[in-house]
Amino acid sequence: MADVSFSIALAFVIFSVISLGGALGVALNRNLFRGTIWLMVSLFGAAGLYVLLSAPFLAAVQILVYIGAIAILFTFAVMLTRSLTQVRERFTRVWANLVVAVLLFVLLIIGIIWPVWGSNPDLAQPVSDVVVSTTDLGVALVDRNGFVLPFEVASLLLTAAMIGAIVIAREADDEV
């Protein structure tokens, strides 16, 4: 099925470019509101990659949680912390940090990705095309021998984060 894998490869390239382009926009923008839009673009690209990786549930959760909530939270934060003078440098020690980031990327590829997985022909194809369904994920999240403990701890974490964020960001006025 050469034509189908061509379209999958094309989709992969498109979504990777969207994701990385958005990330570059986040790193390099001058206008922080545009930066949040670039963040949303990058997260959308990642959602596309999840669909290609046969995880549609994660793609929908990515759009719903990351783009629909977290990125909007970032937008609010950008608007609430606008500095009056826009004349401000974007970066601190940009060249040193750029060298560090590029070095990290090159090290990751040469040191880890290529030797262990790049030249391994077994991993050019997924092991099987039978993929776990969303129902199985739901069952495993509440299964006694599955992930019920991390699930409960995660919900506790979210409650604590919610209460903490409200308490921290509240204005200090007369109400206790």
């Binding site: 839009i37 549930f57 929908a60 959760v61 759009i63 783009i67 629909g68 909007i72 969303t134 129902t135």
Partner: protein, 404 residues
Amino acid sequence: MECVGLCEFVTSLGVSDMGLALFLGYLIGVLLVSGVPLVTVIFLIWIERKIAARIQDRIGPNRVGPFGLLQTVADLLKLLAKEDITPAAADRLLYNAAPIVSFASVVLIWAVIPIAPGFVGVDLDIGALYFVAVASLGTLAIMTAGWASNNKYALLGAFRVVALLVSYEIPLVFALVIPVMLAGSMSMVDIINAQSHMWFIFMAPVAMLMFAISSQAETGRAPFDLIEAESELIAGFNIEYSGMKFGMFFAAEFLHVFTNGILIAVLFMGGYLGLFYQFPLLGFLWLGLKGGLVYFVFLWVRNTVPRMRIDQVMRFNWFFLVPVSILNVILTALVLKLLQVWGIAPVNLAESSLLGVLPMTVILLLKDILMILFILGRISQEGRRARLDAERAHEQLLTAAAGD
């Protein structure tokens, strides 16, 4: 990926290359699926204006075309002919992209709605979740529009809107979980099939009410229409929009309300199920009738009730809708699981029968009625206490004034 449906149709026309045939098949499918909402919106605007006019004791558009049917076309031509203005200091790209994203987020929902048996854009495993995810993209478009207009009032309007939309997503998702639980699957087609013996409106009326209220808030319809508030705050986030860009926001809002009506019909009222629904045209008709009925109720409410303030809206959400919807989910899950374990409720609703589904329906309905009575009791208790406090404060004021 085999070549079925539209792809077969394309191959029968003589296209030999498989990849090209698949692509063309998908393209035709996308055009058909997105054509339905686009054609519907033209008719919808006319219906909305006529019904609003009749409720307000006037006639509505009746000059252009028979019964004013071509009024929408006239409006469309007017909007297209307007000058395309971008404010001087506005963010050009975002300003122009916002109406497109807003309209796209509504049309994307139609990809998962089953219009007739066998006619669905794509039967996703996660159909219900996809709907909520795409609806949250509309929030993003409104935020962008408010900011990119470079106008303080637009920004204020956008802030309020986004707070409203994000808050009302919570009871929307919780109300959506109920039909998903009852059907055992998030796929829209599975939800419709599970209603083949009994509609979910009889099993979960409270969930349907929650969904209707939250979706009205999500689209910015009265009584939650402080999003535009045409008579205050000028026009909210779309102050600076004119011409076809405003037209897209306008069309997106109307289409969104109708889409929500259709979704309620699919999730709670059985979608295309009805007499002789196997014929695609009749199934389509049933869906249109049910969706139209819900849409009429939405219009009725819109033209009758006054607008709520933002703090009343937020209070209503956080102190009433969210606790009630969470309570509903917990109770439904408990009752449903107990019934399934005891064997009273069938696990697979689609393969059961009317008699098999009846006890489950009665018990769930009873649970809903008890919940409503409990909530009404709490509300009247709160009201009584507030009235007593107010009377006491009034008496103290009177005695203090008399004592001076």
